[in-house]
Symmetry: C2
C-alpha cells in the first residue's frame, strides 16, 4: 500500500498498553489490571432502562445535543455537586473521550499551541495532534517521602508556560495515570492566569467522583468559574456509574457555545443512541447510592493494593487521592514496556507500561485497582514479588 499520511505516524502513538495485552492473549491464568475499566457489570436498573427503550422502539435519531430530559438530568446532577447550572450548558457526547475530541475541534486550529500537564492518558494529546496543534508538556514531579510521597505540580512553571499564545490548557485531575489532583487553590490561580492570557481550559474531570478525601467530588473548575468563561469541563458515565461500554459522556460549555458544539456532534457521530441516553437518565436517577457504593469499593481496593505495593522492596509509589490507578516505579527498571511484557510472560500479571502515557511516564507502571475482589490485587502483588525475586 502507498504511504497513508505524511503525518499519520507522528500523530498517532501506538497503544503500548494494547501491545502488552496482546502478549497475554491465550493465557488463562492472567490477572489483568492494564485497562481503565472495572470488572463489574452495569447495574441492572440502568440496563433495564436501555432494554425497555429498545423494546419500545426508540430507534430513531436523537437531537444532536442529546435528549432534553437527559440534559436536564445531567444539569440537575452537576448542580448537586457544584453551583447550579442549566441544561442549556450541557452537551451529551459518545463517551468522555468523544467529548474531549469535540472540545478540541471547537477550539483548536492547525498550528495552535496547546499546553498539557503530564503524564497523561495518551488520547488527549493525540487528539490535539490530529487537529494540527503544537503540544507543549509540563511534567508533574514525584515528591518522594515514603508513605507521604505524592505527585506535585510546579504551578509557577505551568503558569510561565501558559502565555497569550496558548490556545488551550489541557488538565486531567484527578489524573490518569498518577492520581494527582488539583487543589481548589491551584485551580483558582490557573483560572486567574488563563483569564489574563485568554487561554481556554479544557478540564477532563471524569474521575471527580472517584475521590477519597471525604468530599463528594474532587475540586472542579465549575466551583469557581463564571458561566460564560473560557472553560469546557468533560465528564463521563463510564467510571462512576460502571458504564464504560455504553460510550456516554457529557460536556459543560458556555451557553453561547452549545449550538456550535451541536453542529460538531452532527459531523462526528450525529448523536448518541436514544436508548443509551435512557440508560444515562436511569443512572442519574439511581444517583448517589450507586456512586457512593462504587467509590467505597474503590477505596477498599486502593487501601488493599497500595500498602502491599509500597512494601515491595524497590517500589516507589504515592497513595492516590483520586482516580483508580496506582502509578509506581521499581528501582533499576527503566524500560516499562519490556518490564510489563516480562510480567505478563513470567507472572501472568497485566499492568500498563508508563511509557504509554508519554516519555515522562517511562520507568513507571500503571495498575488499575477497580476490581470486584480486592484479594485479586493482593494476589497480583505476590506475583510481582515473584517475578522480581523479592
Amino acid at each position: 500500500m502507498p504511504p497513508v499520511s505524511r503525518l499519520l505516524i507522528d500523530r498517532l502513538p501506538g497503544s503500548k498498553i494494547r501491545e502488552v495485552a496482546d502478549a497475554g492473549i491465550g493465557r488463562s491464568d492472567l490477572l489483568p489490571f492494564w485497562f481503565g475499566e472495572s470488572d463489574e457489570v452495569t447495574p441492572a436498573a440502568i440496563r433495564q432502562a436501555a432494554a425497555d427503550s429498545i423494546q419500545a422502539g426508540e430507534t430513531f435519531y436523537s437531537p444532536n445535543l442529546g435528549l432534553p430530559e437527559l440534559r436536564e438530568a445531567i444539569a440537575g446532577y452537576v448542580s448537586t455537586l457544584h453551583p447550579p447550572l442549566g441544561a442549556a450548558r450541557i452537551a451529551v457526547a459518545s463517551g468522555g473521550v468523544n467529548a474531549l475530541m469535540l472540545a478540541l475541534q471547537a477550539l483548536v486550529d492547525p498550528g495552535d499551541e496547546v499546553v498539557a500537564v503530564v503524564p497523561l492518558w495518551p488520547n488527549l494529546t493525540a487528539q490535539a495532534n490530529i487537529l494540527g496543534a503544537r503540544v507543549h508538556r509540563v511534567s508533574l514531579r514525584f515528591d518522594e517521602a515514603g508513605a507521604g510521597s505524592r505527585w506535585v505540580l510546579d504551578l509557577d512553571r505551568l503558569l510561565e508556560r501558559v502565555t497569550p499564545r496558548t490556545r488551550v490548557l489541557l488538565l486531567n485531575a484527578p489524573n490518569n495515570p498518577t492520581g494527582w489532583t488539583l487543589s481548589a487553590d491551584e485551580q483558582r490561580r490557573i483560572l486567574d492566569h488563563c483569564r489574563r492570557t485568554g487561554t481556554w481550559i479544557v478540564a477532563d474531570e471524569v474521575y471527580e467522583r472517584i475521590f477519597f478525601e471525604h468530599d463528594a467530588a474532587a475540586p472542579s473548575f465549575l466551583d469557581i468559574a463564571d458561566a460564560d468563561e473560557r472553560l469546557i469541563v468533560v465528564h463521563s458515565f463510564s467510571k462512576s456509574f460502571l458504564m464504560t461500554g455504553w460510550r456516554l459522556g457529557w460536556m459543560v460549555v458556555p451557553e453561547a457555545m452549545a449550538s456550535a458544539i451541536g453542529k460538531l456532534i452532527e459531523f462526528n457521530t450525529s448523536c448518541s443512541p436514544v436508548f443509551v441516553q435512557r440508560a444515562g437518565i436511569a443512572a442519574l436517577l439511581q444517583g448517589e447510592p450507586l456512586v457512593r457504593d462504587v467509590v467505597d469499593r474503590l477505596k477498599i481496593c486502593r487501601d488493599a493494593l497500595l500498602p502491599a505495593l509500597a512494601a515491595v522492596p524497590g517500589v516507589r509509589v504515592a497513595t492516590p487521592p483520586g482516580g483508580m490507578y496506582a502509578f509506581f516505579a521499581i528501582d533499576g527498571q527503566t524500560d516499562s514496556l519490556a518490564l510489563a511484557k516480562r510480567l505478563v510472560a513470567d507472572a501472568g500479571l497485566g499492568l500498563a507500561p508508563g511509557a504509554a502515557f508519554g516519555d515522562e511516564g517511562e520507568g513507571w507502571l500503571r495498575w488499575c485497582f477497580a476490581s470486584r475482589d480486592p484479594q485479586r490485587l493482593v494476589d497480583g502483588v505476590a506475583r510481582l514479588r515473584g517475578a522480581l525475586g523479592v
Copy 2:
C-alpha cells in the same frame, strides 16, 4: 463570552434543515419529510439481539475496530455483493458519518486539497474543513429532458480538477441529495485517474443498497479496486437496515491501514457499544429479506412521489436511480430556505432547503420519501400545490 474560535464560524455551516424544522415546532398537522430517516422502527429481531446482550451484561469496552464476529459478518455481507474480502479490512464505526470523519482524520493534513462532487450532504465537506483542508467543489449538472431528466457528472471536468496536489476525492453515490449514481464505467475512469495522481478516494456508499435498477447494489469502487489501493469505502446500517438511531457503520480500508484506523477510533469514541454491535450482527443474519423489503417499499414510495411531484406545474425533477430523496426545483423560486419555511408555515409541509447542501443546491428542495405510508407523500404533494396555488 469571548470569541470561540477564529475559524469556527467559517468551518461550520449552520443546519438550514434544522432551521426549517424549528419553524414547525408545535405544529401537530405537519407532514415532515426533511430528515434522511425512515419513519419505521428497527425490526424486532435486531432490537431483541441488543436487549439480550444488555441483559447478559455485555457492558464493557469492545476492541477499537469492533467485535471480531461483527467484522467477520460485515466482511461476509460485503463479499456477497462485491469481490470477496476479509475481516481484516473492516473497521466498525459509530455510524457512517463517524466512519467518514475517521477516514478524513487518517488522510487529511491541514492545508491539504480535497475535491468533492456536489451538491452533497453538508457533513462530508464540513469534516474536511474542520481538519483544515481546502475543499474544491465540482458541481453535478441537471440535464433537463422532461421525464428523462437526470443529474450528470462532467467527468472530464472532474478529472481535470483532480491533480497530484489533490489528497482526497470525496464521492457520495448514490448521492444525497440528488439521487445521482456513478456508473461502473465512470468509477473505472476515476480510479485510473486517481492512481496516476496518487489521490485517495473516499467513497460514501451508504445508499448502495437503496438502488432501483434491478441490481442488488449500485456500482461500487469495491468492484474494481485492488485490495491495497488508496480507497476507503464507507457504509452504514442506518438506511438499508432501518437503524438510524443506533449509530453503527463501517469502513472498508486497505488491510495495512486498519491498525491506524483502530488508533483513531480509540481517540474519537474508543469503540461502539457491544450490544449495538450485536444488533448489527443480527441485522446481517436477517440479511437479504430485510434489505429487499426496505428497498421494495422505498421503490413504491419513490414511484408514488415522483410522478405526482413532476406533474406540479413549474417543477423540475429527475427520477432518482438510487437513494431516498427527490431533489427538485420550482420555476421562479430562488430562495430555498425562505420557501421551505413558507411551506411549513402555510401548508404544514416539511422539506429540506437545497441551500443546506451547498450553494449549488440553492433554488432546490429535498424531499425524503422513506415512509411507511406512500399516501402521506401524495398528501404532501397536494399541500405543495395548495401552497403554490397551482
